[in-house]
Amino acid sequence: MNMNRRRFVQAAATTAIAAALPIIHTRSAFAADPLKIGYVYVGPINDGGWNTAHEAARQEMLKALGDKVTSVYVENVPEGPDSERVIRDLANQGCGLIFGTSFGYMDSLMKVAKDFPNIKFEMCTGFKHAPNVANYNIRFHEGRSVIGTIAGMLTKTNVGGYLATFPVPEVVSGINSFQLAAQKVNPKFRTKVIWINTWFDPAKEADAARALIDQGADVMTQHTDSPAAVQVCEQKGIPTFGQGADQSQFAPTMCKTSTEDQWGPFYTQAAKAVLDGTWKAQDEYWGMKEGAIKMAPITHVPDDVKAAAEKVISGWMDGSYNCYAGPIKDQSGAVKVPAGSVLSNDDILGLNWLVDGVDGKIS
């Protein structure tokens, strides 16, 4: 019996090795055409938000450029050393263009970029520069101002709820533009903010949404990755909005519209530039005009509200609307943007103060 078992173990080992042998292959490393493009995602591609939007955009780029490009992605890559490993791996695999799609990849990406001067790198929401690194971002606040306009007109209590993660500039800018747009149509409007201090915890997001509603908010929006808060709003009959992608399936009557991130046009343009040899290390900050942000259909609202929202959209398109046009005061009442001037892109990308009318502190 003993011998038999030993022989079995041996046999099993040989089988495993034999089974593995036929598929041992050398990694194809020829980097000629087509252009290989790598994507690094911070979460799962089907999160229904941020990463789904990037993945859809990658597909759009692949469709647009056909057999001139190939592409790989790696999902669920934690920020930190793991991302450096993954980015380096994509570089070693022969990618000619690599997109890092989360802010936390910036330092890793800069390190790898230094070692691969011939590969082009694009860093989403980043701010550091190198000859082969460019940054790209979306003017999210344009979408938030559409939402704010609707919220300001729908509210009865004049209190809007805003569920936020951490006070990073993108989130702060979202809150400010929501409040500024809302108070433009409803001067009594105030925004109540809860910082939940976590990037992802659906149950906590739902509880925080309930807390905001129970404290008097009768319109709500959120800057979190799961649609948990949107679902709570549907249950409680509170108008709400999706972020990142159309989230109306989670709140069929209460989700009035969603901001949809459209990275596709940019991905196609960047890949084309690399193919043509015209790529430059130049930051891009696109909005509605460039098709980088789109609103999902505006539904279940009175006609005048819909008209006002659509006017904001067309205003962004033709340049006649800007939520960051002065005068803008911060929470202490100090004038941050005087009348006649507009908050600059650099200021928006580094926002660390909340506008007057927002309740809640930046911790």
Partner: protein, 367 residues
């Protein structure tokens, strides 16, 4: 006929070393089958996860870097488990060690000199040991079950870290992102192999693990740990204090976990952020078991686990295998190992149900 377990007179040395290898091989076979059944390229998955990282030379440095914290924490835990003292809070000790070292780093942001890095490393050891001392104190003073208390303290540590990283220790120039400033040049572990990311911490980890192997095999301390674990009564008669062993085990494993934490800060991470806890402290428990609670075994097991991490990424980009797969492979590996553990102390026999009585005697004489 039926399968019967018979106790061996002595644990089988062959099985002790054969079973981990068997567990890995069995994981590969079963993994290939399971992933094929659910519609992936099963053989390809196993190849990418277990073999491709080894077959691709530029991935070796990634394996070394990823294995390093697992090994360093794992050798510490192996000692404790030998003494039947269950520190499952290494994750917390890892985090607090990193925090203590980072604290020194924040105070020395504007300073220069070769003394800074060693001071941070010492702070890391002290921080980890201090966090480990809490369950030790609770057990020795109040007879508190150290498994539960060390687990609870882990979550306290992680929330403490979240507070510091998103609050007072946040990088003032970092656009409010919840992370500390990057370490300065004098706070970074130097790379020891030019052209790679392999840092001094990897080498030190290896040295420490080998030193622990000698310590466990040759020293009184090693003997004490083994006796306390395997024969507590004999240990008491032999004059070994259980309380002293608890202290030693927790300070040692906590200190090593803390050192692993500050190695990660001054090496690969270069800062602390909310994503800093990577479950190394929990994974190291698997590493300790897979390595048979033997420091040399832990080195090998740490490398095997690191391969699955690195291979998991490769399988994603090569086969679009979901990221969750590597957790399934890792858990299966441990399941198979734990299941086969019994072969060390028992042998499996086919016995005919008619005549079971004579068997034990034969077994004894055979062994």
């Amino acid at each position: 006929m039926k399968l019967k377990l018979e106790k061996r007179a002595e644990p089988s040395a062959l099985m002790l070393y054969a079973t981990p290898v068997g567990a890995v091989i069995l994981t590969m076979i079963v993994g290939a089958i399971i992933f094929s059944v659910i519609g992936y390229n099963g053989l390809g998955a196993v190849y990418e996860v277990f073999i491709a990282p080894v077959a691709t030379s530029y991935k070796w440095q990634d394996i070394a870097i990823k294995a390093s914290p697992l090994i360093l924490i794992g050798v510490g835990l192996a000692v404790g488990n030998r003494a039947a003292i269950w520190n499952i809070g290494a994750e917390g000790q890892y985090v607090v060690g990193a925090l203590a070292g980072t604290g020194v780093g924040l105070l020395t942001q504007n300073a220069t000199g070769p003394w800074i890095l060693p001071l941070m490393l010492l702070a890391g050891i002290a921080g980890g040991a201090a966090w480990g001392a809490i369950p030790a104190l609770l057990r020795n003073r109040f007879h508190v079950n150290e498994t539960l208390s060390s687990l609870m303290m882990t979550y306290v540590a992680i929330h403490l870290m979240n507070y510091l990283v998103a609050g007072p220790w946040k990088d003032p120039t970092g656009f409010s992102f919840p992370q500390t400033p990057l370490v300065t040049a004098d706070q970074s572990l130097p790379d020891i192999i030019p052209g790679t990311q392999i840092h001094l911490g990897v080498l030190l980890t290896l040295v420490i693990a080998l030193a622990m192997a000698v310590l466990m095999a040759r020293s009184v301390f090693g003997f004490q740990v083994r006796v306390v674990g395997s024969a507590p009564h004999a240990a008491r008669h032999g004059g070994f204090s259980e309380k002293q062993t608890v202290w030693l085990v927790f300070l040692l494993s906590g200190g090593l976990a803390g050192l692993a934490g500050i190695f990660e800060v001054t090496g690969p991470f270069e800062q602390m952020s909310l994503g800093f806890p990577q479950n190394y402290g929990f994974t190291a428990i698997i590493v300790a078991f897979l390595g048979r609670l033997n420091p040399i075994g832990v080195i090998i097991a740490g490398v095997v686990l690191a391969i699955t991490y690195v291979g998991g990424d490769m399988a994603q980009s090569a086969l679009q295998l979901p990221n969750a797969s590597k957790g399934i492979f890792q858990a299966m590996m441990l399941f198979f190992l734990l299941a086969s553990d019994i072969l060390i102390r028992y042998r499996v026999r086919l016995v005919s149900q008619a005549a079971p009585a004579a068997q034990p005697a034969t077994a004894k004489s055979a062994a």
